[in-house]
């Protein structure tokens, strides 16, 4: 079923990349050989693993229209007996059909053929057809975890935090959840640091989630009957109360009560299925990190699982893996569209293509064109599913190859790519880092654990599958970091909704990526173990994204942005960590914008400048005005085009210039 072909020359890749653009793959020129023609139409997958027995095809509008009118175009394209199936890649009718068509999603088809037929050979044969504008190998993303799990069993008693903070829910296993409340207990890791967690304890006093925030878990199956998850599952009421085997809500999916299984080749007919031999519990574990039910007296606590009153965020299961198998780009794409069409405002995606599969944004856009378009569908403002947002948010794991670039799709500027740290606040040895990585979160680190492997509690404890290894299991990976970020984002959306606030897409992503604690301070010297290696921490300096996500800081930023007070007539320095997070000194700043009226109001003699995260400004008049500062979240260059890089973030800051200034910010 899987083929790996690493022999394609770089020039072929370049030809494939350059022959397409995201809007409209170019029609092929007349070429002499099938292989040359294929090169002009081939969009991707050949540099990584892809699925055998099928191809994704992008047809012209006319042929697409003929197919939609019931004509048998497959026989024309492939000849009888050469294929076993032909259908739309997104076989279900999208809710926002106009947008789907605008993005060209209706023109993607999947053709299936004998597994024994080499994919490349079949592709070369069909490339001669002028109706086929582009050909994409059906790439196989992977979960961003080794999928190894260790069952939970009662272990050493852990100490409480020095500041007395504790998880305020009665879930009995939560004393082991250093990711939520790291007390620095040395039983977790000899190097454990108090506060190396997701900063959610105080945040829960403001919100622990909201049922109108739906997180689509695009992953292996979520066991929706799990006693710690059942209360957090999204419920499609029409299907729940409808007739089995009938599409009661008319969304083109039958019996999708808690989500859908997009692994069609498994023959599940959409039923979520966790009872397969190769299942690991990955999706169930990820879901529990986001929203295992808090305060129900059993199991674990979670980031956004409510306060014990049924008020947590909701989990939508978009099953894209069944055990180790998936439907590749096709399944991922349809899952994202389903999530958009059925109310999810956050796509939690702990999967991706291994780092290096795509060298730059354009390579992904053109090589995984179908999935890119599906991401555009999910994040398009027209499909936004929460009144506090302008657009839905897609969050991906950075990947686990210890590579110095993020995997895709997370590396795209439109997505958030999450790196992983352990209970010591240090990068886990497996995590990808560097270009394209935006932010860090707890992902666990087996190799710093204080206990033997089977007892290791330096990983992440969450819900699991009793059918496999246990109802509660330890796992590690950027797969585990990613749902922490999704959970915090979900808390942020919940709180914004509670306050009746609305943010643009850039504003909300900026809030997410600047609500961080500095981890660069720990990445200046020393190292740590990883497998049989010793890894140098300096390698990771300023390459883990903007810093470690902190839920409390996010909610404070959602409440409002503090003004910067400066003293009239004197050179003032404003520490930007208040606005760009504790890692502000290490960020790359793009611009300081201030309009003429604001300059006049503040009596600015020259444009403010930023050095090492400090804004130098001289105001000659009393007054207040806003300035805009933009920076790169993740790396020193922006992503896009031939780059793999960070996301542009922008803060608007009010400057108050007064005659009285106190160094601690006090009014008097």
């Amino acid at each position: 079923m899987k083929y790996r072909n690493l022999t394609i020359a770089a020039i072929v890749m370049m030809a494939a990349i350059s022959c397409l653009n995201e809007k409209e793959p170019a029609a092929a020129p007349e070429l002499s050989s099938k292989e040359e023609l294929l090169m002009t139409k081939l969009t991707g997958g050949q540099n990584g693993e892809y699925m055998g027995g099928c191809l994704l095809l992008y047809l012209d509008e006319e042929t697409t229209s003929r197919f939609e009118n019931g004509e048998d175009v497959a026989a024309e394209l492939f000849g009888s007996g050469e294929y076993t199936g032909f259908e739309k890649a997104i076989s279900h009718k999208p809710k926002n059909e106009e947008l789907a068509r605008e993005l060209g999603l209706h023109r993607w088809f999947i053709v299936t053929f004998d597994d024994m037929t080499p994919v490349r050979s079949f592709a070369a044969n069909v490339a001669v057809r002028p109706e086929i504008h582009a050909i994409q190998f059906n790439s196989l993303p992977k979960p961003a975890s080794d999928c190894k799990s260790i069952p939970f069993r009662p272990q050493v008693r852990l100490s409480s935090a020095s500041d007395g903070k504790k998880i305020p829910f009665d879930d009995p296993m939560n004393s082991y959840q250093w990711n939520l409340n790291n007390t620095g207990d040395k039983n977790v890791a000899a190097t454990a640091r108090e506060g190396a967690d997701v900063g959610v304890i105080d945040a829960w006093k403001l919100t622990a989630g909201s049922p109108d925030v739906i997180v689509a878990v695009c992953d292996a199956p979520v066991k929706y009957t799990h006693p710690d998850l059942a209360g957090s599952m999204w419920v499609n009421e029409a299907e729940l109360n409808g007739v089995k085997g009938v599409d009661d809500d008319g969304n083109d999916y039958i019996d999708d009560i808690h989500g859908y299984n997009f692994y069609k080749r498994g023959g599940s007919n959409g039923a979520i299925n966790w009872e397969t031999e190769t299942e690991s519990g990955h999706g169930t574990h990820v879901a529990g990190i986001v929203a295992a039910v808090n305060g129900n007296g059993i199991g674990v606590s979670s980031v956004a699982g409510g306060s014990g009153k049924g008020d947590g965020v909701r989990l939508m299961c978009c099953q894209v893996f069944e055990g180790i198998y998936s439907d590749g780009d096709r399944g991922m794409s349809e899952a994202l569209m389903y999530a958009a069409d059925n109310g999810a405002c956050i796509a939690q995606c702990s999967y991706g293509y291994p780092a290096g599969t795509f060298e730059c944004d354009d390579a992904f856009i053109n090589n995984a064109s179908l999935e890119y378009r599906a991401l555009k569908y999910f994040t398009n403002p027209k499909n936004c599913n929460h009144p506090s947002l302008e657009a839905n948010i897609a969050i991906f794991a950075a990947g686990n190859e210890s590579a110095s670039i993020s995997g895709y799709p997370g590396a795209l500027p439109m997505c958030i790519s999450v790196t992983a740290f352990g209970p010591d606040f240090l990068p886990a040895g497996y995590t990808n880092y560097g270009r394209g990585c935006n932010i860090a979160a707890p992902g666990g680190d087996l190799w710093v654990g204080a206990l033997k492997e089977e007892d290791n509690i330096s990983q992440i404890l969450s819900t699991g599958l009793s059918e496999i290894s246990g109802d509660y299991i330890w796992m590690q990976g950027s797969s585990m970091a990613c749902p922490h970020m999704s959970g915090v984002a979900a808390l942020g959306v919940s709180y914004a909704g509670k306050l009746g606030k609305k943010f643009t897409d850039n504003e909300f992503k900026t809030l997410l990526l600047t609500s961080v604690n500095d981890i660069n301070q720990f990445l200046t010297e020393g190292g740590k173990s990883f497998k049989d290696m010793w890894i140098n921490m300096q390698t990771y300096h300023n390459r883990m994204g903007t810093g470690a996500i902190d839920a409390w800081k996010l909610l404070m930023q959602i409440e409002g942005t503090p003004s910067a007070m400066v003293q009239t007539g004197k050179k003032s320095q404003v520490d930007l960590s208040e606005y760009f997070g504790e890692g502000a000194a290490d960020l790359t700043y793009l611009a300081v914008e201030i309009d003429e009226e604001a300059k006049k109001t503040l009596g600015l003699a020259s444009n403010p400048k930023i050095t090492d995260g400090v804004l130098d400004i001289v105001c000659m008049k009393n007054g207040s005005a806003k300035i805009r500062i933009s920076a790169i979240a993740g790396g020193v260059q922006l992503g896009g085009g031939n780059n793999i890089g960070g996301t542009e973030i922008t803060r608007e800051i009010s400057i108050i210039s007064r005659g009285v200034y106190s160094t601690n910010g006090g009014w008097f």
Binding site: M556, S563, Q573, V614, N622, N664, F668
Partner: protein, 141 residues
């Protein structure tokens, strides 16, 4: 907020500044997007609640003292106020503080109870954070 020109007012009898200051005061600095409440205790303590753009009041504490008609103070973290202030009162309910640092900044406060939601939802600023220092440390109250 009221920033007004400093004016001279001829007092015909001694003003009991120490007697007039204690209590709760409010200054709405609308053009700065700022809102400030202060409580001065008779024992020389003060509580300051200020909101400058953020969505939650920040709470400072410290001590005040009066010499003649000049009010000065120190925050609990040891930071001196940005200025001392020349005080004047209009009746019992309006107080004018004129900065004495050469800036000529004058702010008028009205006597007003501090709403309970301000005090209950505030963030306590525990330590100093100079311009180049790290963020204030928060404590949930």
């Amino acid at each position: 907020m009221l920033l007004v020109a400093t004016g001279c007012k001829k007092d015909e009898k001694p003003v009991d500044y120490k007697g007039l200051l204690p209590g709760e005061w409010h200054c709405a600095a609308v053009e700065f997007g700022a809102d400030v409440y202060a409580r001065f205790e008779e024992n020389g303590d003060f509580d300051l609640y200020q909101m400058l753009g953020e969505g939650r009041y920040r709470h400072y504490t410290g001590n005040w003292s009066i010499k003649g008609d000049i009010l000065s103070g120190t925050y609990s973290d040891g930071t001196e106020w940005g200025s001392s202030y020349k005080m004047s009162f209009s009746g019992n309910d309006l107080m004018t503080l004129a900065a004495q640092n050469g800036s000529e900044e004058v702010v008028i406060y009205s006597r007003e109870s501090i709403p309970s939601e301000v005090k209950e939802g505030c963030i306590d600023v525990k330590s100093s954070f100079g311009m180049l220092n790290s963020q204030p440390q928060y404590r949930w109250l």
